[in-house]
Amino acid sequence: MIRINNFIIPLFSLIIFCLLWEMLVWYNNWPNYKMASPSDLWPAFWKFKHLFLIYGWETFWRTVVGLILSVLVGLSLGILMGFSKTIRIGLYPILVGFNAIPKATVVPVIALIFVGMHNMNTIIIVILISFFPICVSISIGLSTLEREYEDILLSLGANKFEIFYKIALPKTLPEFFGALKVSTTLAFIGTNLMEIIEPHGKGLGHLFDSGKISADYPLMFAVLITLAVMGIFLYYIVVYLENIFAGWAIRK
């Protein structure tokens, strides 16, 4: 029953959302260049279905690869910062400063450094935008480990590595997955930032840009909806992994 509810309730809320959206457009009598309604979207999808498939896949794989790499970067920095106070104090200002820079301004810089390497550019932006939450959550999780947890193993003569993978790492997994959910949605922002600002004929960002140039508003909305659907899909993959690896922390 719970499993069915987990599917039915979100689906139901989605349908209500679309109905309200449709009604809003219909009631205000907005033309589709002001605000497209859900019923305008399907024709837009259908017209460009091949482009959606190709570009959608491009955006998707680059986001996923970028996300995986940002997990690696975030994890390694977070582990270093969690264990060494010196590294933590040393790196925090740099990381916070880095994160405070609007990524849109970094896009042209990256694009200039790696001219023409579209995939790499996009992935770098994804990493830059998504590693921070992971890094912070892991470093906080590791540095706030209660002393007793360490003591039970240390008093037996365990080494730092054993404490890390038997206690510290599993204990920070719930925080890690919390951060990964944030990073997942950020990752799509990263991909599209690169695709829209630095147009090079790839990805959904490019399709969005084409829609803008040709004033095809339903197409632009269709791209946004595709991105939302991909974001939801990736989010639930993370939830699935969380259930496997950190299911013990989820209240039933």
Partner: protein, 257 residues
């Protein structure tokens, strides 16, 4: 395993300068003995547990376990705290075998499990083998924590207020569990506590520490009965003992002021 603490002084570095917590403390605990240490709050009782387990080194003096000076953690020590610190992602049995994963790496899982199960039966939790800690009550968690501290058959068991957060009846249940464990297993025990009844009921020797920096203030044997029962705690002999200890704590507190 007898434990000798010889002229130990210890101080911590704080922002306000050095904070002396132990001063010239000497005491000895006989083999298989059960010693309770009581004293005013913050007088350095927990420091003693960390010193005896080898987690920290004393600033001065030395500690010997069977005439061997402790310089680093020993795998022959088990510890349990007020916070049961169970690993939430492991079920009960896997929590208990954790120390074996460090000190007896060559045992198979089944051997580890059967060691853990023996203890789990002693504390009356054998049906909860596969439960997660979040499904247990506070008293049950503390029982599991006790099993974990004993699974590698340590020669010294260090208990740092393990029953302090439990309600009165659960506490008394666990005292009896402790008696049972002590009878079945062969270990020397140090118990840190604020509860004088607990000290008198469980230990055969009670030590009162003075206020910070702590040194030995008072020492008493509590062998009022061969096999202690809860009802003994209401006898006049024990009442008198408790009154004496209470008085000693007051003296220790005054010194602190």
């Amino acid at each position: 395993m007898h434990i000798n603490i010889e002229k130990v002084s210890h101080q911590y570095e704080t922002k306000q300068g050095m904070l002396p917590v132990l001063k010239n403390l000497s005491l000895s605990i006989k083999r298989k003995g059960f010693t309770a240490i009581v004293g005013p709050s913050g007088c350095g009782k927990s420091t003693i547990t960390r010193l005896v387990s080898g987690l920290i080194k004393p600033t001065q003096g030395s500690i010997f376990i069977s005439n061997k000076k402790i310089t680093s953690p020993l795998s022959t020590v088990g510890m349990a705290f007020q916070n049961p610190v169970l690993l939430e992602w492991r079920n009960v049995i896997k929590n208990i075998i954790l120390p074996l994963e460090i000190v007896s790496k060559n045992l198979t899982y089944n051997q580890k499990r059967s060691n853990a199960l023996d203890l789990l039966k002693l504390v009356g939790l054998e049906e909860f083998e596969n439960n997660l800690p979040s499904e247990l009550s506070g008293g049950m968690k503390q029982r599991v924590s006790l099993c974990r501290s004993l699974v590698h058959s340590p020669e010294v068991l260090i208990l740092d207020e393990p029953f302090a957060a439990l309600d009165a009846f659960t506490k008394e249940d666990l005292w009896d569990v402790m008696h049972k464990l002590k009878k079945e297993r062969d270990f020397t025990c140090i118990l840190i506590t604020h509860d004088l009844r607990e000290a008198v009921y469980l230990a055969d020797q009670v030590i009162v520490l003075s206020g910070r920096p702590a040194s030995l203030q008072f020492e008493v044997k509590t062998n009022f009965n061969e096999e202690k029962k809860i009802s003994d705690l209401y006898s006049s002999e024990v009442s008198q003992l408790l009154a004496t200890l209470r008085n000693q704590i007051e003296i220790a507190q005054n010194k602190n002021d």
